[in-house]
């Protein structure tokens, strides 16, 4: 009897339904990324600003020191601005290869040979990058707010800033979803994660440069809508009910953000196909 006869048995256990499939993809992707020490180190570095700002909050609220700024929505808006750099790094590290490497390894037919849909696949990938971006962008600012509320000696901080919690959640999720969609859309256009990473950096840097140059040249601040960074800043001001320092209409910034999201969804729907065209 050949030896392989000893090792194959029919399977008669249960197969779960469709609601769990995206989660399987997300869980496996998150576990895989967390197995890279460099990535875990990057995640830890991303939290350094949190500890500095938490210390500042402690000095203001507990020790009563004034550090040259008011403790209001602007503080938390600024905390988001500080987290933009880690957001970019994590987006590139975790997101650029999410689909590109599957394309390079011809993995899509393997995924779709199982009972999963394209939506399951995209949701799973979105959950991977979204979880890490939420961890480095939304979570530190959210924790800062909760920390401030916790160490505050009286109810003044909470009474005056309770609505900021909603702003933090709304803006944080908005940016996380937008960045996740954008990097996934880019990732589906190439078989190389490096190319995707470079394209993402180029989109961030060159859009900012172009916005600045054109606004100076044309003396019109509305062209700052070409800049991803300026749009995020303008939308942050909108979410935190701060006065605009850019003289850029929030509607233009929102339109650009929605355009990016729409392009990403369109690209994903075109590129994520199980059966490659052979003719």
């Amino acid at each position: 009897m050949p030896i392989y006869d000893l090792s194959y048995r029919h399977w008669d256990g249960p197969l779960h339904g469709g609601g769990r499939r995206w989660y399987v993809i997300a869980e496996a992707g998150i576990r895989l990324l967390l197995s890279y020490k460099k990535f875990v180190f990057l995640l830890m570095l991303s939290w350094i600003p949190f500890f500095i700002q938490a210390f500042m909050l402690y000095m203001i609220l507990v020790k009563g020191q004034t550090l040259g700024f008011d403790l209001g929505p602007g503080f938390f808006q600024n905390a988001f601005a500080v987290q933009v750099f880690p957001l970019i790094l994590v987006t590139i590290y975790a997101g650029s290869g999410l689909i590109a490497s599957d394309l390079a390894a011809n993995a899509l037919p393997l995924y779709f040979a199982k009972p999963i849909t394209r939506m399951d696949y995209v949701l799973g990938k979105l959950a991977i990058i979204g979880a890490f971006l939420a961890l480095v962008f939304l979570a530190p600012v959210l924790l800062l707010f909760l920390f401030a509320a916790g160490v505050s000696p009286d109810m003044t901080f909470i009474r005056e800033n309770y609505w900021v919690l909603g702003s933090i959640l709304a803006y944080g999720l908005f940016v996380v979803v937008l960045a996740s969609l954008f990097i996934l859309g880019l990732s589906s256009t190439s078989r190389s994660g490096r190319v995707v990473g470079v394209a993402f950096i180029a989109a961030v840097i060159f859009s900012g440069m172009m916005g600045n140059i054109l606004s100076l040249f044309l003396r019109n601040n509305q062209v700052l809508a070409l800049s991803l960074g300026h749009n995020l800043t303008r939308l942050a001001q909108l979410f935190f009910l701060e006065e605009s320092t850019l003289r850029l209409h929030w509607g233009a910034s929102l339109a650009v953000a929605l355009l990016i999201a729409a392009w990403s969804v369109w690209t994903l729907s075109r590129r994520i196909r199980p059966g490659e065209v052979v003719a």
Partner: protein
């Protein structure tokens, strides 16, 4: 019946890849043969729901392939033609992951992954990253991931691509074992005739998106032409002339053996009759069998570059009459 397709048409833009195709495949191992571009892979992808047919219908294990592709994939294991893996995973994690995608629990999937990896001969290499596997190992792991959820039907698309002769034989043995002893039906898509001949009992020959012939391989060989190898003593020229006059095709090979191809409905008695009428003493008579290649080339209407024959094992003997 595992698969039934009716008037299926699949197009890529303007190009018709499958044209009005109707087939019924029974249980066991069925070979899907055809030259490149015949529509073999397209057919598998359509049944799996990767491609939407522009016309026609199909049922796999009594499930509608258009209405419920996810239910179909729950019952099918698919080994794609191209090398593929999930980047960054070792073999056992990869196979277990595909099991989870099929709906298995994590613990069950992991246990089963170990089993199927041992079955396909990768037990020793199960903790190696798949990226470092050789071509032959990648073929085996694709088979393992196709088997993980114990499908009722396996679709194997060129399973021996890139394998050395030993690995190829082992893979075909596995395919044979799966279909015969494990009772999993197999659709083996290949352009390698010996692979299909070795592992399958039935064959469907496709060309330009349509079925050109199908059936049991042995019967297909037999129902074509009957060919005999003849050697004897006496008036070979006269013997040959009589046979040719009777509509047989006669050729002489380098060893001065005659190869006699009988006409439709003729039997070996025709050879003996021709010999007796010419005083030709038949000292060796052996029925030859057409290779599947001949059947295939006949079916797609391609010229035979070099007719290859095999000795046919006749009932109750080795096919040789002395």
């Amino acid at each position: 019946m595992i698969l039934e397709l009716q008037n299926l048409t699949v197009t890529y833009g303007r190009k018709v890849a499958i044209r009005d195709l109707s087939i019924r495949l029974g249980e066991g191992a069925v070979g899907l043969l055809g030259p490149n571009g015949a529509g073999k892979s397209t057919l598998l992808k359509t049944v799996l729901g990767f491609l939407t047919p522009s016309a026609g219908s199909g049922r796999l294990l009594d499930m509608d392939i258009k209405a419920d592709p996810l239910a179909v994939r729950r019952k099918v294991g698919y080994m794609p033609e191209s090398d593929g893996h999930i980047p960054g995973m070792n073999a056992v994690s990869f196979v277990a992951f595909t099991g989870e995608l099929a709906g298995m629990g994590r613990v069950d999937a992991m246990g089963r992954a170990h089993e199927v990896l041992s079955y396909v001969g990768l037990g020793e290499a199960r903790y190696r990253p798949v990226d470092t596997y050789s071509t032959g190992m990648k073929q085996r792991i694709k088979l393992a991931q196709a088997l993980i959820h114990d499908p009722k039907v396996l679709f194997l698309d060129e399973p021996t691509n890139g394998m050395d002769p030993k690995g190829r034989r082992e893979m075909l043995d596995l395919v044979k074992d799966i279909s015969t002893r494990k009772k999993i039906s197999i659709v083996l898509c290949s352009h390698l005739l010996p692979d299909v001949e070795y592992a399958c009992r039935e064959v469907v020959v496709l060309d330009k998106g349509t079925v050109v012939t199908s059936g049991n391989i042995d019967e297909m060989r037999a129902r074509r032409r009957r060919v005999y190898q003849v050697r004897g003593k006496g008036d070979a020229a006269g013997f040959r002339k009589v046979l040719e006059a009777a509509g047989c095709k006669v050729e002489e090979d380098r060893d001065r053996m005659l190869r006699v191809e009988l006409g439709e409905g003729e039997t070996a008695a025709r050879i003996f009759a021709a010999a007796s009428g010419n005083g030709f003493q038949v000292r060796h008579l052996m029925q030859l069998r057409l290779s599947l290649e001949e059947v295939f080339l006949d079916a797609i209407g391609a010229p035979h570059a070099d007719a290859s024959y095999q000795v046919a094992p006749a009932a109750g003997g080795d096919g040789t009459v002395h």
